[in-house]
């Protein structure tokens, strides 16, 4: 069974003249345990698609299935990691990670033994994400990278089968981002999560994804899909391999073609002439 299955998903914003088709006829199957990255020019609807799978947006037509059951709103089996501002500033790091345990969805039918397990899980996640030192700190006292580690740990707390990530490293600097890439690959392999990961960074998309799905704007649609020809366990050196660079330039070129934006060389030359 597929973890996520989108069948002819349409999403329309607004009505009448202000009607915008954000997603058109999206068909996408994601296998259990697969790591799929979504890239595309801005406005291609990649975030909208992710949010629709999360159940935060309602699709206008078609159907989305998560492990066979149709998506009708957000659910605990599809945890989402946002770019930023999603942590609870009034809770410590540990309390943020344990937040899902306060919710009825995770308390129902719990035996005391399971509560024990859950408590151990919070500690395990804290360790896994390298957060032991800051367990009692508040999010505002952490760097952006550390904050995202907390957000990921919190999302994993309730053992979601699907992890949805919306440019989670978009606000981080390049060095921190590289560290986070290896961390997220390691953690997701360990947790056996199915991941759908949105990014505008092609290198990130190829390095993390087993499959890269490229979307095109106006209307938002799936343009093409690329299997990443790299071994399943990734290492930083692979970013310099010929296969990696070839795929990267191919994807970058395709995004440029679909974006409808071009550098106007003629205009630049004319301006240069006038200036000179």
């Amino acid at each position: 069974m597929n973890a996520i299955s989108c069948r002819a998903v349409h999403k329309v914003f607004g009505t009448g003249v202000r009607k915008v088709t954000a997603l058109e006829n999206i068909c996408l199957d994601i296998r259990e345990g697969e790591f799929v990255t979504l890239v595309g020019a801005s406005g291609c609807g990649k975030s909208t698609l992710l949010r629709t799978v999360a159940g935060l947006e309602v699709h206008s037509a078609g159907e989305i299935y998560a492990y066979g059951s149709p998506v009708r709103g957000p659910g605990a089996e599809r945890a989402m990691v946002f770019q930023n501002y999603s942590l609870y500033p009034w809770l410590t790091v540990m309390a943020n990670i344990k937040f899902p345990r306060q919710l009825a969805a995770h308390i129902r039918n719990r035996t005391s033994a399971e509560v024990e397990v859950a408590s151990g899980r919070a500690d395990a996640l804290l360790q896994l994400m390298g957060l032991e030192q800051v367990a009692d700190a508040y999010p505002s006292q952490l760097s952006g990278g550390m904050q995202q580690r907390v957000a990921i740990a919190r999302a994993l707390m309730a053992r979601p089968r699907i992890l949805l990530m919306d440019e989670p490293f978009g606000a981080l600097d390049a060095q921190t981002r590289e560290v986070m890439h290896d961390l997220i690959l390691h953690v997701c392999a360990l947790e056996r999560c199915t991941v759908l990961f949105v990014t505008h960074d092609v290198e990130e998309a190829i390095y993390l994804g087993q499959r890269v799905v490229l979307m095109a704007p106006r209307p938002g649609r799936i343009d093409s899909t690329y299997e990443v020809p790299l071994p399943s366990s990734r290492a930083v050196e692979m970013k310099h391999s010929a296969q990696f660079l070839a795929l990267k330039s191919q994807v970058v070129e395709r995004i440029r073609d679909t974006s409808g934006l071009r550098t106007d060389l003629e205009l630049l030359q004319r301006l240069a002439k006038r200036a000179g």
């Binding site: 999360a54 159940g55 935060l56 709103g73 957000p74 659910g75 605990a76 599809r78 945890a79 989402m80 946002f82 770019q83 930023n84 501002y85 999603s86 942590l87 609870y88 500033p89 009034w90 937040f99 899902p100 306060q102 919710l103 009825a104 969805a105 995770h106 700190a137 508040y138 505002s140 006292q141 952490l142 957000a151 919190r154 999302a155 707390m157 309730a158 949805l164």
Partner: protein
């Protein structure tokens, strides 16, 4: 204030100052005039003291010179003396007590109703559409103009005074609470939803705790507004209270008592404001945590 900022910043500031003054021979720009700059605790409180002392000094001098008639401008000494006789002969404490009661009662009544209502307006678009335009409309109506109606409906007892303060603060408070609630970042709400939180849980465990600091600030600000309606409220058949004392003093041209009453309200308001700020620091340590 952040001590590390105080100790680390001057060094950086000095270096840049030296280079600019050397290179361009310009006058050193003092750190005091940096846009959104910092000040040491000492400079800050010195300036604050100057800001309070200068008007007081001018006032003392103006009355000491004798150029201004005391009926128009009593001296600080007159005002202090009036405060003393007010305390010993006219039951100042009771006036303060009853005024505080009226202000706090009117304000608390507003808060009890405005907090849940504002929460609903800020959370559900349906409630917003239903109530926000109405509230916006009513809040422009002058509270003073409601006095005859309040006397007609509520009577002329304590209830009437509380009602005027309530009318003056409630409608503004509802809108401010709604705005505080709307400012809760959507990502915080959506994160809870994707973790499996129900609608009630999102409100209870995310929206309320997230907006609490802003709500306390709103309560602090509206408390100030409640005090400004005190004099108006005590226009209604009162025979006690600071506002009433000011109105009565006007009738007898006791300018010193008017001054004393106004200053007292200012001091009490300042005290309450500081108490709210202290409460804010105690209740929300995470906002003051150092990184």
């Amino acid at each position: 204030m952040n001590e590390t900022a105080i100790s680390s910043q001057p060094a950086r500031q000095d270096v840049s100052d030296v280079t600019t003054s050397n290179r361009r021979g310009r006058r050193r720009s003092t750190p005091m005039w940096t846009i959104r700059g910092w000040l040491t605790q000492r400079t800050y409180w010195t300036l604050a003291a100057v800001g309070l002392a200068v008007p007081l000094g001018c006032w003392t001098m103006l009355t000491a010179l004798g150029t201004v008639n005391r009926v128009f401008l009593p001296s600080p000494g007159d005002v202090a003396h009036r405060l003393l006789t007010w305390f010993s002969n006219d039951d100042l404490v009771a006036d303060i007590g009853i005024s505080c009661f009226r202000v706090i009662a009117g304000w608390a009544l507003s808060a009890v109703l405005a907090l849940p209502l504002g929460l609903l307006i800020g959370t559900f678009r349906t409630v917003q559409a239903l109530l926000e335009p109405l509230t916006d409309f009513v809040r422009y109506m002058p509270a003073v103009a409601f006095i005859p109606l309040v006397m007609l409906w509520v009577g002329i007892d304590e209830g009437a005074k509380v009602a005027i303060i309530f009318i003056g603060t409630f409608f503004q408070m509802v809108l401010m609470v709604a705005e505080d609630v709307r400012r809760v970042p959507m990502a915080q709400i959506e994160a809870a939803q994707t973790l499996g939180a129900s609608r009630a849980e999102v409100i209870e465990k995310v929206i309320i705790p997230s907006s609490k600091p802003a709500l306390l600030d709103t309560l602090r600000i509206t408390m100030g507004w409640a005090w400004t309606y005190l004099v108006v409220a005590e226009l209604v058949a009162a025979n006690s209270g600071l506002g009433y004392a000011i109105i009565k003093a006007q009738r007898f041209l006791q300018t010193d008592k008017i001054f004393a009453g106004i200053l007292l309200i200012g001091v009490i308001g300042l005290g309450m404001d500081q108490a709210f700020r202290l409460l804010h620091r105690l209740a929300f340590p995470y906002l003051y945590a150092r990184s």
